[in-house]
């Protein structure tokens, strides 16, 4: 319950450095208590759509906020192409580079429905842990192309290989469980290679479940990050020309100007914290820039396989699992 009277711990953004509030002792003497934590913790979802989630996480230690960020980046699994069997590649792109590019294609398959490959699993994998695709493209000259045409699209067929050319090969009973649109590439317009007549690609691709720690392609997020809520305070009245200058020093919508041509802080939330006010001697002392130390504005951009809120929840689950594992280990001692 973010009460208005809550004493917000501040971090001052001075011109050349970030300074803590002298009254703020941070974590130093805090004893962790679940009760207090519960009381202070507050989550407010600001925006949640298909590929982006913005929410505020208020009243937690940076370690906890950071843990979620780190887990989303590297510990929430996703599916990605891990093995590329090249039967034929006569294009100019090298086999390794092609394989690397295939690996980076984001897949729609829900990683929660798959198992990790284990050490014992066979090369071919099972329907529980493996998705298979094929890419068979051959470039040819268009018969109907005229001599005077210079656009490659008119002259050649299949001269651009897109991720949409990937074809899912259901394994075992997979065809009954999933539809092609549920497992294949999220975007079908990612350019993989360019071909010329006579060039041919014939690949079999094997996607498995993995962690971002192993390779960035397994990360479910484009990025997951947070920032601290900015706080802008006007120390004195700024009017007239200076007010407009002040307004220009901040992101649009941060500083408002009332009918008396006096500046006031409208909404500091979306300020980019450029600190450009300090550039102007006449405004130098007029503002105090700060950030609220325990108000984290999280932003999760999903690659597309999982919804961003699901990714966060998965991260929470991973944290829970890790904590459980740690407790188990301690208790086992």
């Amino acid at each position: 319950m973010a009460s208005k009277n809550r004493k917000e711990p501040l971090l001052y953004m001075e011109e050349y450095r970030v300074k803590q509030d002298p009254q703020d002792y941070g974590l130093a003497d805090d004893v962790f208590s679940v009760q207090a934590f519960k009381e202070k913790l507050h989550i407010k979802i600001v925006r949640n759509d298909e590929d982006g989630l913005e929410f505020d996480l208020i009243g937690v230690y940076p370690a906890i906020a950071n843990a979620f960020r780190r887990l989303m980046l590297s510990d929430v699994p996703s599916m990605a192409i891990e093995k590329v069997y090249i039967y034929n590649n006569t294009s100019i792109i090298q086999d390794e580079v092609l394989a690397h590019r295939m690996g980076l294609l984001p897949l729609r398959a829900d990683p929660r429905l798959f198992a990790y490959r284990t050490e014992e699993s066979t090369e071919a994998g099972t329907e529980q842990d493996t998705l298979e695709f094929e890419l068979k493209v051959k470039c040819s000259r268009r018969r109907d192309a005229g001599k005077d045409q210079s656009n490659f699209d008119d002259i050649y067929k299949n001269h651009k290989v897109y991720s949409g050319h990937l074809k899912w090969l259901p394994k075992g009973k997979q065809a009954q469980i999933y539809s092609e649109s549920a497992v294949n590439c999220i975007h079908d317009d990612i350019l993989i290679a360019q071909l010329r007549p006579g060039h041919e690609l014939d690949l079999r691709l094997v996607a498995v479940k993995g962690l971002g720690r192993d390779h960035a392609k397994f990360s479910p997020v484009a990025t997951a990050t947070y920032r601290l809520l900015p706080m802008i305070k006007l120390n004195r009245e700024v009017t007239g020309k200076d007010a407009y200058l002040l307004q220009n020093c901040f992101s649009p919508g941060v500083i408002g100007i009332d009918e008396n041509e006096t500046a006031y802080v409208k909404d500091a939330r979306y300020d980019t914290c450029s600190r450009n006010v300090y550039r102007y001697p006449q405004l130098n002392d007029a503002v105090t820039l700060a950030r609220i130390r325990d108000h984290y504005i999280f932003s999760v951009e999903s690659v597309g396989a999982l919804k961003p809120d699901v990714i966060f929840l998965e991260a929470v689950k991973v944290l829970k699992r890790k904590c459980r594992a740690l407790i188990d280990e301690i208790e086992a001692e």
Partner: protein, 1137 residues
């Protein structure tokens, strides 16, 4: 600095009246987009035009002159016999495919097939066979290696599409040769100017020297002053000859006449008196007597020619041909030489009085650059003369013999000698020219194709002839006259520092222009022939002597008028634009130069305080109506060589134009070369940093050409995803570096992190690497030829071998195709065989007659070596020039950055990867951006690479705006503009962002300077350097571990390490390291005689009574035996141990 205001299209100057001098106070508006003249220049001249121009001059003009000069071959045996060359031509490139069938070829075919890209040299001749006179046309006398993109090259005049059909990169500059499949560059050679008087102090002796150089001869003549007397010194004479003797020998007999040549003022008379007395004392009064005196001082020739001449005749011959060979002798009239000698004497006399009159050897006006054309023409002339001499000896030998068939020279003309001579000279770089006694090594170098820039940089390289070991600072230091001609930054560090230089962007090297027309123009402009006047007027202080190419042309009374007229004629196109005219007031001379090898560059002409190039000219250039040559033809721009540049007053920008200004700089950034032009904001960097970048840009990997995938080079590094730099420069666009880039824009955070970034180490983001940052491809080749031998045997390639038990192909042959050559796409491991070649055991002549079925074969497989496997990119089977099969295999590796790989920014700041960090551990800013790379801020204070911080700022603003910023030297985007852009996009104007620690999640206390910086991946990678050995091969002779990584060698425990162990007292460890782990060997030693025994038997004592076994280093045993073989007997005295 010239600030260019874009979009200002006011045509202000068109209405300006040059006669109106009141307007002079009005400041001149800077010409907008004056820099567009630079691409216009490069479009005409190209970056390597010097090489191509010079070579074109050789194959089209010079070669004909050479043949003309040596056109007649006669024989002493038959006065009727002659062979006369009527014409010579260099044809189009072709290749001999055997049986005298030739077909047109392309450079790329030659590269792939290891052949020479060359064209036939054909001559038309007329000769006598018996009494018949015969004409023969198109006779092949040799093959000329062709320079790429020369006038006869298959690539000239081709469009981009046609070039790509020929597998050639349209951006490749050409200017090099393909010899035996290798790309060879003939480096530009810097030399002291010939045919020019140089006065200098040589160990306290004032001397004036001239190096004469003609087609026939090269000789050095000196006039020096010793004890108040003057002497002439020449190689062909043992002693210094008193100068008066020389004058008399040259036909100036009377002392009065001699004195009048030197000068009749009392000062000169006093100084010269002693020399006159000298001749008197020697009793030399007549020309004949002088010649006799000289004859007595001649160096005795080693090979006396059959025709005997008296010494005085030989001395006369010498004066006519060798001494001051460049001064023309008209019908045995030596007057010009006398005048020339008198001038040398006067130079010495003047320099004795005034030390400032010494010439500077390092001054670039006294230098000439030799290019491929002139070097090749010397080589060709030598070979051509040798061929003619051989034809003559053959004729001398054969004509007297009575034979059924009449002697026919054509049957003895063989093309192989000239072909092989030219080819081996270019491929070895040894330039041996007998008639000049010239022997130079390292004239050519293999074109470095590490990156596009390294290839381009090589084409502009200037090599100087100085010894690298000599400790002299003069030739190495930056000369003020290098301004605009040679890049001040681009020189290597270390021993070749300052001796190897690079041309600046707009430098042109002149090719020879006919001097006849210029002479006529000069005479018309009022030069008086010097032979018409006696000595007196020469020494008149108002008279200026006129020199053309180091020779006296005449004299003039009104030198200012003459110079003005000559320059006017040049601007009007009445003589070649590369003719230079300059005045030397100290020497009272006007020098006209038309010779080749002078450095020059274009300038805008300024008249009456106004540059002649107006805005409307530039607009016309923009519209494509006007080309660079039109500026030259209209007399708006002219070329100045170093001497004339020194004689001009050049403004650096429009603001600096004064009354006396004669020229205006086109663009300041052109004073840098190709490599230094890559550096953004170089004028903000400490100068050595730019020099370091010039060296490092050549090691950066990226793209080397559009045809890189078609090449089979012995080593090629490519970046998988190269970027064009965010901060460009004009030079980058002009050199097409943005089309063939070598590097990637990395988001850099300048902060310290983890301690793995000290000493310039870099921290890389693992996620960036996963996504392809710094990924590179390494291509290597391996090749072999399959030969046929004279004894009817031939090499063969066998298929893969199968294991007898399992019926599976053995591991070594696993990658072989059924034809015995690897298949493309295969992965080859260490020690696997790529070509299963076998060679007949006996290949020498005639071991077996008849059937060749049962020849024993030995296996000579081509196998793969390397710790990491490679993939086969391609296999090529072809035939080389000797008609053997040629098999080339291209191997490929993809490498991902790892700890220890070297990266560098464009500011001479190199560093190795110290740590690769997971993305979640990297710091991130408010936008969630993690840097790709972290650089330690300690790299800045001592290096002072402010340019790098500006690059970062410019790059960051460019990202936000979606455009490229410019960091052009002495210009570029201004910091205020960049900061305004940053501010507009809500970023801090100094470029510092609020960052959070990725590890703790808390904000960092400092703001972090971050943004994109262009980083180059350098060719030094850990994978090529890592090396360790526990056990391995040993050298045969010493039985000690082999040396070097390539031989899997041991790591030496050297002297210093040994000393440490000794001082520590770890004797057993020393024993282990130096003997047991190295070359321990058991020897028998006889305790009686101290010698080594063998099999417990002392051969000396004939006993086995006192033989004991000891172990010692094998090298020690070897030493003892070697000493014994030299009759030194080492004896060992054993004690109990």
């Amino acid at each position: 600095m010239v600030e260019l205001k874009m979009g200002d299209h006011n045509v202000e100057a068109t209405t300006w009246d040059p006669g109106d001098s009141k307007d002079w106070s009005v400041p001149i508006k800077p010409l907008t987009e004056k820099w567009k003249l630079v691409p216009a220049f490069l479009q005409v001249k190209g970056l390597v035009k010097q090489h191509i121009d010079s070579f074109n001059h050789f194959i089209n003009v010079d070669i004909k002159k050479i043949v003309k000069a040596n056109e007649l071959v006669t024989s002493g045996a038959d006065p009727l016999f002659y062979l006369k060359y009527l014409d010579v031509r260099v044809g189009k490139p072709d290749i001999d495919d055997g049986f005298n069938i030739t077909k047109a070829t392309t450079p790329h075919e030659c590269r792939l097939r290891d052949t020479t890209y060359s064209a036939p040299i054909t001559v038309d001749i007329e000769y006598t066979r018996g009494t018949q006179r015969i004409k023969r046309n198109n006779l092949l006398i040799g093959r000329m290696p062709l320079m790429l993109r020369c006038s006869n090259c298959a690539l000239t005049g081709k469009s981009e599409f046609e070039l790509s059909k020929l597998n050639e990169c349209p951006l490749d500059p050409g200017g090099y040769f393909v010899v035996r499949g290798q790309e060879k560059v003939i480096l530009i050679q810097e030399q002291l100017s010939w045919n020019k008087m140089l006065t200098e102090d040589f160990n306290g002796v004032v001397q004036c020297q001239v190096t004469s150089s003609t087609h026939e001869k090269k000789s050095r003549t000196l006039v020096l002053s010793k004890h108040g007397k003057y002497y002439l010194k020449h190689n062909s004479m043992t002693d210094d000859i008193p100068i008066v003797v020389i004058f008399k020998a040259l036909g100036v007999v009377s002392d009065q006449e001699i004195q009048s040549l030197i000068g009749i003022d009392s000062k000169s008379q006093n100084r010269f008196g002693a020399s006159l007395i000298d001749a008197y004392n020697l009793k030399v009064f007549t020309q004949q007597r002088a010649l006799e005196y000289m004859g007595s001082k001649l160096v005795v020739k080693r090979f006396q020619s059959a025709t005997t001449k008296t010494p005085s005749e030989e001395a006369r011959e010498l004066l006519l041909t060798t001494i001051l060979a460049h001064v023309p002798v008209d019908n045995f009239n030596l007057q010009m030489k006398a005048i020339y000698v008198s001038m040398m004497v006067r130079r010495v006399m003047a320099a004795e009085l005034d030390k400032t009159l010494f010439d500077d050897r390092d001054y670039y006006g006294n230098k000439r650059l030799e290019l491929a054309g002139s070097l090749l023409s010397m080589m060709f002339e030598d070979l051509f003369k040798r061929m003619n001499w051989e034809l003559k000896t053959i004729a001398d030998k054969n004509i007297p013999k009575v034979k059924a068939a009449q002697f026919d020279v054509v049957k003895h003309m063989r093309a192989a000698q000239i072909t092989a001579g030219l080819e081996s000279a270019i491929s070895s770089g040894n330039w041996t020219i007998k008639r000049f006694k010239m022997e130079r090594a390292g004239v050519t170098q293999v074109l470095s194709r590490l990156s596009y820039i390294s290839a381009l940089g090589m084409m502009t390289r200037v090599n100087s002839q100085f010894e690298k070991t000599r400790k002299v600072s003069g030739p190495r230091s930056l000369q003020p006259s290098q301004w605009g001609m040679l890049c001040p930054s681009d020189t290597p560090e270390g021993e070749a520092c300052g001796l190897v230089k690079n041309l600046a962007l707009m430098t042109h090297i002149t090719t020879e222009v006919e001097e006849r027309p210029v002479m006529i123009v000069a005479f018309n402009a009022g030069v008086e022939d010097i032979r018409e006047v006696s000595g007196n007027p020469i020494n008149n202080p108002n008279v200026f002597l006129v020199f053309i190419n180091g020779n006296v042309l005449g004299l003039t009374l009104n030198h200012k008028h003459l110079v003005r007229n000559l320059r006017y004629m040049r601007r009007k196109g009445r003589m070649g634009s590369y003719v230079s005219v300059h005045t030397s007031y100290t020497q009272r001379c006007i020098y006209i130069h038309t010779d080749g090898g002078r450095l020059c560059r274009p300038y805008v002409i300024v008249e009456n305080r106004r540059p002649l190039v107006k805005q409307h000219h530039l607009d016309e250039l923009n519209r494509g109506i006007r080309k660079f040559d039109d500026f030259l033809l209209d007399g708006l721009i002219e070329y100045l060589d170093v001497n004339e540049e020194n004689d001009s007053f050049i403004a650096w920008n429009e603001d600096q134009i004064e009354d006396r200004t004669t020229h205006l700089e086109i663009e300041p950034f052109t004073l840098l070369g190709v490599c230094a032009g890559l550096v953004p904001y170089p004028h903000h960097n400490q100068s050595p940093r730019n020099t370091y970048q010039c060296a490092m840009g050549k090691q950066a990997m990226g793209m080397i050409g559009y045809n890189q995938k078609n090449r089979i080079d012995s080593l090629m590094y490519n970046l998988v995803y190269p970027h064009a730099p965010m901060v460009k420069s004009k030079t980058i666009e002009l050199t097409n570096f943005d089309k063939l880039p070598a590097g990637q824009n990395a988001t850099v955070a300048v902060m310290s992190y983890s301690g793995y970034d000290i000493e310039d180490a870099l921290i890389l983001n693992k996620a960036s690497i996963d996504r392809g940052y710094g990924r590179c491809l390494v291509y290597k080749n391996s090749k072999c030829t399959v030969k046929r031998y004279a004894n009817q045997t031939f090499d063969r390639i066998m298929g893969p071998m199968k294991d007898a038990l399992t019926n599976k192909v053995i591991f070594k042959h696993d990658v072989l195709d059924t034809d015995g050559i690897v298949a493309p796409g295969e992965q080859v491991q260490n020690k696997q065989i790529m070509i299963n070649k076998e060679m007949p055991a006996v290949t020498s002549m005639n071991p077996l007659q008849g059937q060749s079925a049962q020849v024993p074969y030995t296996a000579v497989p081509i196998s793969y070596k390397g710790p990491e496997p490679s993939y086969i990119e391609r296999v090529m089977v072809s035939a080389n020039a000797e008609e053997d099969f040629l098999i080339k295999i291209l191997l490929r590796q993809t490498r991902i950055p790892e700890i220890g790989d070297k990266f560098s920014s464009r500011h001479g700041q190199k560093g190795v990867t110290g740590l690769i960090v997971e993305q979640e551990d990297m710091p991130f800013n408010d936008f969630g951006i993690c840097p790709d790379m972290i650089m330690n801020p300690h790299g800045f204070p001592s290096r002072m690479t402010v340019g790098k911080t500006l690059e970062l700022l410019g790059g960051k603003a460019g990202l936000l705006e979606g455009k490229f910023h410019y960091g052009t030297a002495f210009g570029g985007s201004k910091v205020e503009d960049i900061q305004a852009e940053l501010e507009r996009h809500g970023f801090n104007y100094v470029g510092k962002d609020f960052f959070y620690s990725g590890i703790t999640g808390t904000p960092l206390e400092a703001y972090i300077y971050s943004g994109p910086v262009y980083y180059q991946k350098l060719k030094h990678m850990v994978q090529d350097k890592m090396h360790a050995r526990a056990r391995g091969p040993k050298a045969v002779l010493t039985r000690q571990p082999t040396q070097g990584r390539s031989r899997e060698g041991g790591l030496r425990l050297g002297e210093m390490e040994r000393d440490c162990l000794i001082s520590y007292g770890a004797s057993m460890l020393i024993m282990e390291r130096l003997m047991i782990s190295s070359d321990a060997f058991e020897v028998d030693v006889c305790r009686t005689c101290g010698r080594m025994a063998y099999c417990s038997w002392c051969h000396f004592c004939q006993s086995s009574a006192n033989v004991s076994k000891i172990s010692m280093p094998y090298a020690c045993k070897l030493l003892f035996q070697e000493l014994t073989s030299m009759n030194v007997v080492p004896k060992m005295i054993l004690e109990n141990y």
